[in-house]
Assembly symmetry: D3
Homo-oligomer: 135 residues x 6
């Protein structure tokens, strides 16, 4: 079901870039599990490295937002972009980082509400109120 | 720039449904300001009422998520759906509810990161790991 | 605000393909008005001709659906795809073909409702019921 | 394949909100069949209730548009938003409400045509004709 | 998994329009293989004919862009529109027309980069620089 | 019209990260012009730096695809994602890197064709042919 081969650990060991990224994913996450996006990206080692570094530098480092909120934002974008894999993986991650069933339910409802007003506003072509603009 | 007329307060007073909704918006928000989405929706009073009740019941009532987080999720969806008006209005709302510049910057970066991996995963058609599925 | 020049009638007369398409648009619609999409496409005469023929063969010929319903479907797609120009032009066309204010209001609400359940279903990754599949 | 559990009838009976919504769906539709979206939403009873009330108040009540046209608009939005489940369920619903094969074929072609001109217009950044604006 | 029946060769032979289109696909491509999009479209012979003629006139005729580049552009759009089938079919076509693994990897990265800056710009509502406008 | 302030050169000089990125943009491009996306991102210096490094490492370095093709792919994604600013800026960039009017016209037509078949396939829920899958 993929447009590329999912790289096995044995194959990954044969490419120094892939081997290093897979090792860093395992160390950063404290888990032996490498999920499929990394195995699919591994066919293009520079792309794998670039993608992992982007994800790691933003999602695995403390910042202004807590890890659970970050994952809920990730889910919201992934839903709007229609990415089934991403919705699955980040819903699992959000739960692992403490998202409760009530928070999950409310997230779903806000995403759905935003989608409905997004479409209404686009249908009505509502002009931006001057009060909302930043100079 | 709209596909419908933006209703003035004088016109709103002539329709009992619109008048009541506008009054409730002002009371709920503690502000006299009615932004353009409501003035555009007012051409269809039942649609105005339905939309406001949906927004009010979800965004103006305490729940599992705090108001700032809700607005950041709203922004994330609105960006992915390309709704300029919604991005403007909910960015203003998130700031009014306490979103800091650092949080805004991080929100932008997570939205952009999610979009990039959403597209990568779709391009590679990565199959969902069984570990992510809920039975 | 365009990425291409909007062709004037004087310029159009100098290219036989553009001249013929502009004449056919005027004759088919019974109006002298050529809206901007055609003036923008005219920079690429084969693309202009192909696009007009596609639109004409589908929207200007009697078929299974009446002209008003076709325009409302066109609006629905254009909203979901976030095309401001298309929402403007096809809302005007739908009104010209008889869409009432009540029908417009209901169309907006159905589009918004569909968007909300589209996002809910994607968020929940609901599997298709076997009852809905066609063999 | 879902990110949430699909609630069975036995489980639904244990939650008074879910039980009531499921009963109302069956009564409104005159059918014992509860499709998966409702079973997925049931994990969040307030979200289930809100969503069903929105759908019921718009799709199950007579208004300006006939039921078949409403379903075709729903399909159009669902296609543009890329919601596989929604396309399946509303295509089935449209057929049940009388959509003929010819109407289905024409709907597909209009959706495809709209998508093509949506993208053309966005690529060319065509400015809105003043004739299309509502003051 | 489809919302329409996939037409077999035996059934196709019974409809003169479908029979002719299927024959032209085979002749144009120099292959006996008819992929599923055509078998799905065949339920609506005029829609099948229109779609095939559009595809043939653009993708199977020499022009300004080479066949490989055309397929890579097709993939980029299909990814952004979230069309799983299209990503599969046009990735196979691009490879058949000479896309290397390195080009595929770079295409993926550009698509992902574009998606990320698309979302950033929408989030920040960046105004267009006058330098980019065409008069 | 932005949700953030566009940083001037005087302001940029006061932040060492922004100052360095702006200098690198000018040196890499051999031009004094800093377009608005960078001035908007500058409110979040780490986000500015991350974004510029991603763009520079992919678009300003020789690789498997030539610069003109990269820009055309960027345009295709930006159109499908409905990013007006991005369509403007990358159309200008593609022209600066040699895209002819004929290539631009053909790019538009391929984007529009892809969008139409993307929507058709989603509407018909066409199953992926086994021939297109990679094991």
């Amino acid at each position: 079901m993929a447009t590329t081969h999912l790289m096995t650990d044995v194959e990954a060991d044969a490419d120094p870039i892939v081997k290093a990224v897979f090792a860093d994913i395992r160390e950063t996450r404290g888990s032996d599990f490498i999920n499929n996006i990394w195995r699919a990206l591994a066919a293009d080692p520079p792309g794998l490295k670039r993608t992992w570094e982007n994800v790691k530098s933003l999602m695995a480092v403390p910042g202004a937002l807590d890890p659970k909120t970050r994952e809920m934002i990730y889910i919201a974008v992934s839903v709007a972009n229609g990415c089934s894999y991403c919705v699955h993986s980040h819903t699992a991650a959000a739960k692992a980082k403490g998202m409760s069933d009530a928070e999950h339910g409310e997230l779903m409802q806000i995403v759905a509400l935003a989608a409905s007003t997004n479409h209404l506003v686009t249908a009505l072509q509502v002009p931006v109120d001057p009060e909302f603009e930043v100079n």
